[in-house]
Symmetry: C3
Subunit: 480 residues, 3 copies
């Protein structure tokens, strides 16, 4: 074997070296095997062919499955196919895995890639990949590619999910699979041992797990305030004045519930950070874990904030269509008519103009910052930000947004806080209730940035001898 | 050769091993060669130097092109330069490729990377890379990097397009080029043999190929409805009442065309999925390809939906500025004045209030979901969604959006459907015309989710023995 | 050593081969060493373990730091730990680097990865990595991973920044570090020699460096126009008519400043491209560098444009809430009342309706294009565009946006340009001032696309013999 030959051979086999002992390599390309000729198997085979691999399909009836098989590949029986490659993709359903048992000898030492998925969580007692490993103990099972659809396998990863997760016991087997993934244009991430397989198999079945809690909170708050305001506004008017103003449910009531829920959720988004800071101050150290509930709360802050933005967006739309409403136009005409008929003079009130305009202006600025926060939480935008930039926007601008929106709500109340007619049936209006939480958050935050606590905080930082910049960043994240 | 020496050597030569036979390697870095000292060549050379390669430029006049050449590189004549590296980037225009013919001997076995582009499609009978290969048959031509600008080559891939496409006959040559691309920070994707080169060369010249059909549809629909409404609203008023209300073209007419086109395009976006489901039910199998027109239609659904969102956005803006318009303010004053002068009393109509407010509320909710659909179709957002999440949003929420927008339009018509005065010149108003298609889509979808068809669909799934989760995903994509 | 053994060994050692001579490798995984058991060190160790590495922590007190150390790793004294791996991550603060000096012998030939960051820029005379290299001259120092937080190290790169920058003197050492980064799921980019370390260390400390100049410009323009309009509108009214209309600051004034600043910044975004084109025409060549100020200006065009979009967004919101304002509703009532009381007849003016509606319509179309430009400048969207598509949108649609917005402003002025009452205290209104710059830009652009200049431009292109498509793209970028 000359040096020239050896080096050619080496560059050609991408960390799949053990294969060379098993099969004489074709002159140009490395061969991989795909068991199963369904949509998934065929799509995968096509993609492998395009990436320069030789593809051998393993099929129960190798002679009858010809028409749809990608051109350039070979179809053999399972046993024959198993011999032709070191790497075997198992693109059949878990229910049919038993056909592999009699092949145990041929599969010995091979890398089996389990691509299967289930139709629902906990369908089987153990993960498909672990089941496969138990059937063929001599092979090295790697779980992977299952998060991709046949579609994205066929079309390549250009606009679908690039990220592929794999797991398995053998480091070498995983490296072989990762090399193939890289050549197919995916970026593979090793998630650990085969025990992680269940998690990977559950991944395609998950439906917004991180959004669930925030969505429950949003739904609960909306329902609670909807009924509270329904009673206070519409049923109260019906009982005391006998007027049917139920049409107000559609716009007026919705436009009260939305800003209330938005403001509460925005403060729920910043409350855990403040709580964490105080906990650290109280404990005198930042190196103890937070309680679990606080941890979980902090992990769904992004979702809380985005839902709050959604409600704020609805509030803006509901507010902007006010002058188009029939009721509003009717009232305006009625007011003008009454001014004329009663021959009143109208007086312009500068204070009302000031407070009204300030209220609107604060709302506009608050909403603009809100949108800015939303844009920077888009994955592609937050990825180009340095950590300091991200925390500047999410912490400084976030608290500023909360401040502006709270001030906007206070100005809405304006001089109604002290008037007793505001408190129908002795209940405060919705916007007063929703001011409690943001006021508390802002007060606590104010306490944290006063000189005394600030010094304490700094002392804390200096005290901890190991605190590097990274740990500050970590802390920063925690107390965002 | 000691083990230490061998391992150093190995880690240094990244799958470019054949080079070692040709040239005594420099102690620290591998050398690559760049032919051409224009903007592109220099940018590429600079980037290669930064990535730790040794760079040798090949130039016609090696001694006169000194000042702009990146510091640290070498400039030689073509023949001498060709000898110094295994990999040669051809950064000259196709018109000057003939200078390579006399170098055939020096180029034998070398990897030539063709980076060229053309000024327009079909400028030459064959692809530049294929032409290059025909000129230097002894070399291994790889097409690649041509989708990058000199700018992004120089600045690195941090905020430009990371993806680089390559193609070529030799797997080893492609691997060598991919290794370089990876070290420069790009992620290279092997697209196949040299016959793909024309496609890669056409890529930088393409101008929204997937948007073309949806844009034609949008333009056609807009023009058709514009003229239809122009005749019905403005020309009709001129003929029958002699009034010139042409100023309404700018806002009123635009605000009728936009929502009509938006709603039709949204239903065009969901129609193919429904058709595909019925086709599968009719055929009794999901393993036959759809007809070509249906395939093409399904592939431009995203673009149809985004254009529909654009028109909906315009509709929202046009609606929100209504109360600012001179005409509207004039009418409001006139109405109030006539109430006073004719001493009429105004009566508040709760039904009108209910229908008007519901109409507005449905519009707001529909538009919010519309925006949500738009956000989730941003590449960075759809990438972090699991397939189930993506299909939940695009299918469930998508049909809900269509339902809300259709209901919004029906409520707009409200009690005008049966009034004969609505049908000027015996033509229905635009919003009635545009209701046909979404109503059909929603009815068909309703049929699909009724128990009987649902069972049929399920039977279909169970019947097909090979149906894995992936194939369901595939199906799911098809019938989104 | 049989072939089987050799190949196994090879696939297992990822370009870290020199390690094999130093330590007998564990049967399954490669060992790396982490000095420091703080948050950062522990997070990194955990991630390394998950990726299949063996991890040995080096600690001052190996026996007392047990509880928080990730399960599966080993804790040794520094000297012992240094012997167990070829790659050593230094996860301690720069202040404690001196403990490495006595270990010089054990660290000889090892790769030391400096992960440290500083609390502020220029905290120390030299970069931390250079300081480390001077302390341990026998080791090969590589700077890297410092842009990551402990958080994203622990959680993996799925939704944080994937990109990792490294630099160092030795190519082999950098390759070893890059291999680890790749296995951890990051994508590493080699930025050059150790002299770049300071730049990398400053990166996490930077706060929107590219946004600074555009933000200064926006703040300056806003302040200037605010005071100009304050004097012209509010103080003028107070002096000449004694009226206090200061409440107009909150909405009316803000709604004048926003569109003015937006339009000026949009034209500032397109001015440098036009200037560059004229400079190239004047020079007769496109191969000379632009002056520095023009270069810097061109590099912040994206930021200028996005800030302009922000101001336009505020302008839209401020405009849409106009009919809700107390002042506006008061005025409307007053107008109607005066019509009645003075028994005037109102006459509908078609010209006013035309100009008003056109003004609004142009504004809406301009803003929609503005938003489209904003969306396409999102990193994830611009990444999927080909260069021609990106330049089509940013150049063609960009200039169209500028044209629409300028026409919108001209129509706002309409017939007031020639009325002397517009010029209070002999000063022109703000919107006239802000029309100067966009008019100039549009005129210059018009000149550039007239046949004569166009031919000149083309001649320029043909003259330059080396101009490839890439260079045209480069030029295209410059003169966008």
């Amino acid at each position: 074997m000359t040096g020239q030959e050896r080096s050619e051979e080496k560059s050609e086999c991408v960390s799949l070296s053990p294969m060379r002992e098993a099969v004489p390599a074709p002159p140009e390309c490395e061969r991989v095997c795909v068991f199963g000729t369904g949509d998934l198997g065929r799509s995968l085979g096509l993609r492998l062919l395009q990436a320069g691999y030789g593809v051998v399909f393993g099929s129960r009836r190798p002679h009858s499955s010809s028409s749809l098989i990608p051109h350039g590949s070979q179809v053999l029986g399972h046993a024959a196919a198993a011999q032709s490659g070191h790497l075997i993709f198992i693109a059949v359903q878990r229910e049919h895995y038993d056909f592999l048992v009699p092949l145990a000898n041929q599969l010995k030492g091979k890398v089996l890639v389990d691509l299967s998925n289930n139709l629902r969580k906990n369908q089987y007692p153990e993960a498909n990949a672990e089941y496969l490993q138990s059937l063929v103990p001599g092979a090295e099972v790697v779980k992977g590619f299952n998060t991709l659809s046949a579609w994205s396998l066929q079309k390549g990863p250009s606009d679908a999910n690039r990220q592929v997760y794999i797991c398995g016991e053998s480091v070498q087997a995983k490296q072989a699979v990762m090399a193939v993934a890289t050549k197919l244009g995916f970026s593979a991430l090793d998630r650990g041992f085969l025990s992680v397989a269940r998690e990977l198999e559950d991944f395609p079945l998950q439906l917004f797990p991180q959004w669930r809690l925030p969505l429950y909170i949003a739904t609960g708050l909306s329902a609670a305030f909807f009924f509270y305001l329904l009673i206070r506004d519409i049923i109260y008017a019906y009982f005391t004045q006998g007027k049917d103003i139920s049409f107000r449910i559609m716009v007026s009531l919705a436009n009260k519930v939305c800003p209330i829920v938005s403001l509460i959720m925005l403060s729920l988004c910043y409350l855990p950070g403040v709580l964490a800071s105080f906990l650290q101050l109280y404990r005198g150290t930042k190196y103890r874990r937070f309680p679990d509930w606080l941890d979980r709360w902090m992990l769904c802050r992004k979702q809380l904030g985005l839902l709050a933005l959604g409600f704020a967006f609805l509030h803006v739309l509901y507010t902007l269509i006010i002058p188009i409403r029939y009721y509003v136009r009717f009232k305006a005409t009625e007011r003008t008519v009454s001014v004329i008929r009663e021959n009143r003079t109208t007086e312009f009130d500068t204070t009302t103009a000031w407070s009204g305009d300030s209220y609107l202006s604060l709302g506009i600025l608050g909403f603009s910052l809100y949108v800015l926060l939303g844009i920077t939480s888009l994955p592609s935008v937050s990825n180009v930000l340095s950590w300091r930039e991200f925390s500047f926007i999410q912490s400084k601008l976030g608290h500023l947004t909360l401040l502006l929106c709270t001030a906007h709500t206070y100005l809405y109340g304006w001089n109604k806080f002290l008037s007793s007619s505001t408190y129908k049936w002795c209940t405060p209006p919705g916007y007063m209730l929703c001011l409690v939480l943001p006021s508390v958050v802002l007060l606590l935050k104010l306490l944290l940035i006063t000189p005394y606590t600030h010094t304490q905080n700094n002392t804390l930082s200096v005290m901890t001898a190991l605190s590097s910049r990274h740990e500050l960043l970590f802390l920063c994240y925690c107390t965002l």
